[in-house]
């Protein structure tokens, strides 16, 4: 455990504004796609001198209240399946504990660089596969001209819904079908494991709800907020037991992210459902390049390739962080742009309706 007394950084106005700003953008994206922000916030706090564990703990402690506010907001729009969120959330909590154990074992066996290499490679492989598929699916929907029509469950989801295992079947309103919890438990577990190891559980949880269970994108992204709340609450308590939460950092990030998450949630009511997949897929694919850039650094630290010079390491680290920031900003830009266009279209529709009825 760190010497906690010396781990609290000094907060100046610039640090506060920086945390508030990143919190806002992270909140905006997670209000829209159900997750996002952690992959920038944790390294962002570490770059300010916050120890790694405290950065993870403080991120968790801002995540659960943010997810709660976002879930309540989106529940008002009828987008949340609380039952599915809670069932997945509890199994995700188990996945978090298991994932954290694996992380510790890898760290004990291969050291910091080995653990970082494992995380980066897992990150790149998973994000390339899932993110690539999500983007491809969004592209197919856009090209088919069916972007406005109701989403239909895919082949895998239909098969999952067709399996009847007595005693394990639960009705989920988001899917409008009964599904065995023997399918949902591993999905929640995988989401938690990903959250504990590569800090992006939602990038597994949301696509799993869409493609494996057959939930519509809007409901999957909103339900992910319930999972994030359950995972974040459990994780925060676990870290707080060891006094690892810097509540100042958590609450300052929360200050920005609550502005963002409300806006992101409102944004979902203006866009076509496939936009959730576009934003999520794009962020995943861009962020994987950020992690990919760090692979040579860890390989060099492990002596598997020639040692890199200090300037090269610095360049790769800065490049990696810049790409993550870019991914988040791009996601925020698409959300705001889609929302702006949706609002313009609604105004036009309202004006033409008023004209037709002779109100103008």
């Amino acid at each position: 455990m760190h010497d906690i007394a010396t781990s609290f950084i000094n907060l100046d106005a610039i640090t506060i504004l920086y945390l508030f700003g990143v919190g806002f953008v992270g909140g905006l994206v997670s209000g829209f796609i159900g997750s996002g922000g952690a992959f920038v916030l944790t390294p962002g706090m570490m770059s300010l001198g916050v120890p790694g564990l405290m950065a993870v703990a403080s991120n968790m402690c801002h995540k659960f209240p943010k997810a709660l506010v976002g879930a309540i907001k989106r529940a008002k729009y009828g987008q949340v399946d609380v039952k599915l969120g809670l069932i997945l959330g509890v199994s995700a909590e188990a996945g978090v504990l298991y994932g954290a154990g694996i992380q510790e074992k890898i760290k004990a066996t291969y050291g910091d660089a080995g653990s970082n290499l494992y995380v980066s490679v897992a990150f790149v492989v998973i994000l390339a596969t899932v993110g690539g598929f999500v983007l491809y699916d969004a592209w197919k929907t856009y090209r088919s001209g069916n972007a406005n029509s109701e989403e239909k469950a895919g082949k895998l989801a239909k098969w999952v819904q067709s399996i009847n295992i007595p005693g394990t079947m639960v009705y989920f309103k988001s899917i409008n079908a009964r599904v065995s919890v023997l399918f949902t438990i591993p999905l929640g577990f995988a989401t938690g494991m990903m959250a504990a190891t590569i800090a992006v559980g939602g990038f597994v949880g949301v696509p799993a709800m869409i493609y494996v269970l057959g939930a519509p994108s809007l409901m999957a992204s909103a339900t992910e907020l319930v999972i994030a709340f359950v995972m974040g609450l459990g994780g925060s308590l676990k870290y707080a037991l060891h006094g690892m939460v810097d509540i100042r950092l958590a609450m300052i990030i929360l200050a920005g992210s609550l502005f963002g998450i409300q806006l992101g949630a409102i944004g979902t009511t203006y866009v076509k459902p496939f936009m959730i997949k576009v934003v999520m897929g794009l962020i995943m694919v861009i962020v994987l390049f950020s992690r990919g850039l760090m692979v040579p650094v860890y390989l060099s630290q492990l002596g598997l390739i020639d040692k890199l010079g200090d300037s090269s390491v610095k360049l790769l680290k800065n490049g990696s962080f810049a790409i993550m920031i870019f991914a988040l900003l791009l996601g925020a830009f698409i959300v705001l742009r889609a929302m702006w266009k949706g609002r313009q279209a609604e105004r036009l529709q309202h004006a033409s309706g008023a004209l037709e009825h002779g109100e103008i």
């Binding site: 906690i4 007394a5 609290f8 907060l11 402690c61 801002h62 659960f64 209240p65 943010k66 709660l68 506010v69 309540i72 907001k73 008002k76 729009y77 009828g78 987008q79 109701e150 309103k173 988001s174 409008n176 519509p216 809007l218 409901m219 609450l233 925060s236 308590l237 707080a240 037991l241 060891h242 006094g243 690892m244 939460v245 810097d246 509540i247 100042r248 958590a250 609450m251 929360l254 200050a255 609550l258 502005f259 409300q262 806006l263 409102i266 979902t268 009511t269 203006y270 459902p273 949706g342 609002r343 609604e346 105004r347 309202h350």
Partner: protein, 83 residues
């Protein structure tokens, strides 16, 4: 949006929530040394950051929600039917 012009905007509630939120943040920053040393003890004190997070999210969450409403940024009138 057009509805929002006819509906009464929650300016009063937003101001009250905002003032409570400012007071909470001011206390957090002015008493940060005491708060840090208390919360760092862990154990039973672990519930304090959790309680703080819930309290802040209630008041600041309420403020931010009303903030966007007062600015006229509201959900689309025809909500997406999600089944």
């Amino acid at each position: 949006m057009a509805q929002s012009s006819t509906k009464k905007k929650p300016v009063g509630t937003m101001i009250v929530m905002g003032l409570i939120s400012i007071a909470l943040y001011a206390t957090l920053l002015l008493k940060q040394d005491l708060i840090n040393s208390t919360f760092a003890q862990g154990g039973w004190y672990a519930f304090l950051p959790i309680i703080v997070a819930f309290v802040f999210s209630y008041f600041h969450g309420g403020f931010t929600g009303h903030f966007w409403t007062v600015l006229g940024v509201e959900a689309a009138r025809k909500k997406k039917e999600v089944k």
